[in-house]
């Protein structure tokens, strides 16, 4: 394959895209508008923010008071007092609360309210379990000391000493999975996938235009292999998709402090997703007749896939059915992978399944689209 024709096609296509002011607005400005506004709506901040947990309890009850104190002291939880159990359940169902705890007065049996298959709920449960466990430990230790003959005051003193001694032991939990990140940490990867896909679809308009005006058939009359022309067109779209992704990563890191995770893993995920977007763009460029159609069809399609994939709101808020449907499409796999990588201690090995699925989707889309595109440009 001669390098000249491929580079010529890529250079011409990129120059054309660089002159499309509307297209540039959607590539350079819109993603960050979305990241900022949606990110602020979801709580802002780059780090995984605290999980909202509602509690129905009476402060006067000693057990409730102890549990509440532990829960409030937990760094991952934001405790909200809720009036009654019904209100609590509505909050969890609606997604306003990651989980809820009901502490009946005078009882040591606590009721945890959460939705199934909810990542935030699972994380909240884990934190609540830890807090409740500590209270239970104190109660048990006090009982044991009392049973051994200590006065209540002495028992309390012994328990305090034991707690102080245990505070010297630092437990480092490398598995810091604390549910879905919030704020910019969530909207940056979501908008990376959303806009990489949408803008790839939109730039397919130039591909349709090249086909329509006979530019591609004319290129095939040059001493250039057909595959080189197709490769050049595909590479042009891939570069646009990859550039969109890199731009969002760099700017969100610098401005919003978003931590994307292990570079190799992120590069693999973003690379295969850009290939998926490239395949979708060429498929669009092969199927439609008018250069206005990609701009009309691409964004709504990208938004719907983004909704299903958890790019507009956390997938856990959509429920298991939509989550399953979402995983028929690339965005959900991309979100899973990028959110996993955003957690400390994760890497490429943790997202191999997602990368493999995205790679398969990319291979199918690229093969299908290039065959179709080649057929569409075969005749004058």
């Amino acid at each position: 394959m001669r390098p000249h024709p491929v580079f010529a096609l890529v250079a011409a296509n990129l120059r054309r895209h660089s002159r499309d002011r509307v297209g540039l607005f959607f590539i350079v400005v819109m993603p960050f508008v979305s990241i900022i506004f949606v990110g602020m709506a979801l709580g802002g901040g780059a780090a995984a923010s605290r999980l909202p947990v509602g509690v129905v309890a009476q402060d006067a009850d000693p057990v409730a008071a102890a549990v509440l104190a532990e829960l409030r002291a937990h760094p991952d939880l934001e405790i909200t007092a809720v009036g009654d159990e019904e209100e609590l359940r509505a909050g969890v169902r609606g997604g306003a609360l990651a989980a809820g705890v009901v502490i009946p007065p005078g009882s040591t049996r606590l009721e945890l309210v959460m939705t199934q298959s909810n990542g935030s709920g699972m994380a909240a449960r884990s934190a609540v379990d830890a807090s409740v466990g500590r209270v239970a430990g104190v109660i048990e230790a006090t009982r044991a000391a009392t049973s051994a003959g200590a006065t209540p005051a002495r028992a309390a003193e012994l328990v305090r000493q034991a707690q102080a001694a245990s505070a010297d032991v630092e437990v480092v939990n490398s598995d810091t999975a604390s549910g879905t990140p919030r704020g910019f940490a969530y909207t940056a990867p979501a908008n990376l996938l959303l806009f990489t896909f949408i803008n790839s679809m939109a730039v397919a308009a130039a591909l349709v235009e090249s086909r329509r005006i006979g530019m591609l058939p004319r290129a095939f009359t040059a001493p250039v292999r057909r595959g080189a022309v197709l490769f050049g067109e595909a590479l042009s779209r891939f570069i646009v998709a990859a550039a969109q992704a890199v731009l969002i990563m760099v700017v969100s890191s610098l401005l919003f402090g978003v931590s994307w995770g292990e570079p190799l893993g992120v590069a693999a995920v973003v690379g295969v997703f850009a290939l998926v977007a490239t395949g979708a763009a060429i498929l669009m460029g092969s199927l439609v007749r008018s250069s206005a159609q990609p701009s009309a069809i691409g964004p709504p399609l990208g938004i719907v896939l983004g909704m299903l994939g958890g790019c507009l709101w956390p997938a856990e808020a959509a429920g298991p059915t939509l989550d399953t449907i979402g995983h028929l499409f690339p965005h959900a796999w991309g979100m899973d992978a990028l959110l996993t990588l955003s957690r400390p201690g994760t890497g490429l090995a943790d997202v191999l399944l997602e990368v493999a699925v995205l790679g398969l989707m990319a291979a199918v889309l690229l093969s299908l689209s290039l065959v179709l595109f080649s057929r569409r440009t075969r005749t004058l």
Binding site: R2, H4, P5, F7, A8, L9, A11, A12, R15, R16, R19, D20, E209, S210, I213, G214, M215, P217, R218, A219, F220, T221, A222, P223, V224, R225, R378, T379, L380
Partner: protein, 312 residues
Amino acid sequence: MTSTLTCENLSKTYGGVVAVRDVGFTVAPGEAYGLLGPNGAGKTTTISMLVGLLKPDTGTVVVGGADLAADPMAAKAKIGYVPQEIALYPDLTGRENLRFFCRLFGLPRREVRARVEEVLDLVGLADRADAKLDTYSGGMKRRINIGAALLHRPELLILDEPTVGVDPQSRKSILDGLERLVADGMALIYTSHYMEEVERICSRVAIIDHGSIVAEGTRHELVELVGGADRIELTLDGDVETALAKLRGLGGVTEAVRTSAASVRLIAEGGRYLLPSVISTVDGIAAVTAVEVVEPDLEATFLHLTGSTLRD
């Protein structure tokens, strides 16, 4: 002299419908070859096979000694193709479009700048080279469309309707430029709906209909195919019927018909030279108020061979 293009027995069938059947011709260096035919006759399919866009079912195409099927890269490097549509990027400038085609055709980087300037001068667009193509007039776009096919100095230039929608001034500029290229030794294949362009540019013409070449030759040879008789249109004032009877008996007149109350049409060999005899024959019977002698032309030949006008 060795031909720049030799094509033999080209055939192409689409789903049982024969688009082109056994088409073959040669074009020599410095020769302009016209390809005429009504819409759907098979011109575009033939051209698509000549430029390598379509693979023929049968037949061969050899350009500058390179077989298009066996060595497509070498053969394509010798062809410049000007499609009917403006196949250029509208959002790039004229210069950028030409640079793109230089790279597509593999011109060495150091030659690109000079060659682009040469071609811009050749097509008369050096002063608009840095304007975006979508700001060009129709004629300017046509000129740059041709220029893009000349960058790699092809031995054979194939033009498919290169002057469609062009104003007379631009058309003249394009035709003048093509004549210079032919004079410089470039072989040229030209299709057009404008018969006068083909008559002006092409030394040989093939008339293609229903996928086959129905006639081929110089303009003179083609006209001879339908006979060399001229048509004389007369408008008379007087006794038209008597005048018509007299004219039928005039030597050299093969046919005389009344076409309206005051008009008569004569078919005669060497009509221009017969005109004085025609006028003296009707003298005293009717006054000749208007006369037109129409020589046989390619249009008439085309009509005769294909049964349609070129714009059908």
